[in-house]
């Protein structure tokens, strides 16, 4: 088993660069296109995940564990942010009964 693990080749880093750039741009397009606030929040999570993967890839290829520790803390912050974001969405839906950002574009309802 150890031999199999050690024989796994590494891909060039550019594979991960292109893949994560693609995921990031899909997240950007999602934030710009969608009207549902929940799906916009999910697109932001997709962007965060692409960056996590790129950080972990660089950390693995440069033999520096700081990158993967940073990814761990980014996951911590992302979890807290999703909790608060969903609480805000719940409050907005409860008071205005709509999650459409083209409807919710007033600062004071």
């Amino acid at each position: 088993m150890q031999n199999i693990v050690q024989n796994i080749q590494t891909l060039p880093i550019s594979y991960y660069l292109f893949f994560c750039s693609g995921l990031f741009c899909i997240g950007v397009i999602g934030v710009l296109i969608k009207r549902n606030a929940l799906v916009i929040l999910m697109s932001i999570e997709l962007m965060i995940n692409s960056i996590n993967l790129l950080l972990a890839a660089f950390s693995a290829y440069s033999n520096d564990p700081a990158g993967q520790i940073f990814v761990f803390f980014i996951m911590v912050v992302a979890a807290a942010e999703v909790a608060i974001g969903l609480a805000i969405i719940v409050v907005i839906f409860r008071s205005t009964n709509s999650l459409d950002i083209d409807v919710l574009n007033k600062l004071k309802w």
Binding site: L11, L17, Y61, A66, M75, A78, D100
Partner: protein, 166 residues
Amino acid sequence: MFTTYIFYFLSILAIYSAIMMLMSRKPIHSVLYLTLTFFTIAGHYILLNAQFLAVVHIIVYAGAIMVLFLFTVMLLNLNNEERSPKPGWIKMLAILSGGMLMVVLVGIFRTYDLVVSYNPHLTQIGLVKNLGKVLFEQYLLPFELASVLFLTAMVGAVLLAKKEQI
């Protein structure tokens, strides 16, 4: 060789489910496609031998954050609102600007190559033991502050979401 095939399979699956997340009409489908994307990214972590991150990723994202999203969609009954689409020209502009961002990034990264590249399956820095040593020796303060952050987030979420008592 085998690694390349697995990478291509996971990447195509990830990009496909990300695009399907954007193109589905009901929010519940978007949540499920995003969960599939998160599982493919966990597969990528395993390819990099980042074992701790792979497991934490599945536990935190697929196990907690997506469950939160699913609860919100189901309890608030947000699924029956099929979004009315934005005007066509706005969508075209958005896809165009996203595409241009992609072109810029690809242009930047095309000629980049790491000078010294380690094999993460030999150096084994992604293992729980090695990461744990670094986390608890060098990064102990952010680790403890993360717990304070979680306490703040919990208090905030409960305070925001509870009903007003008359």
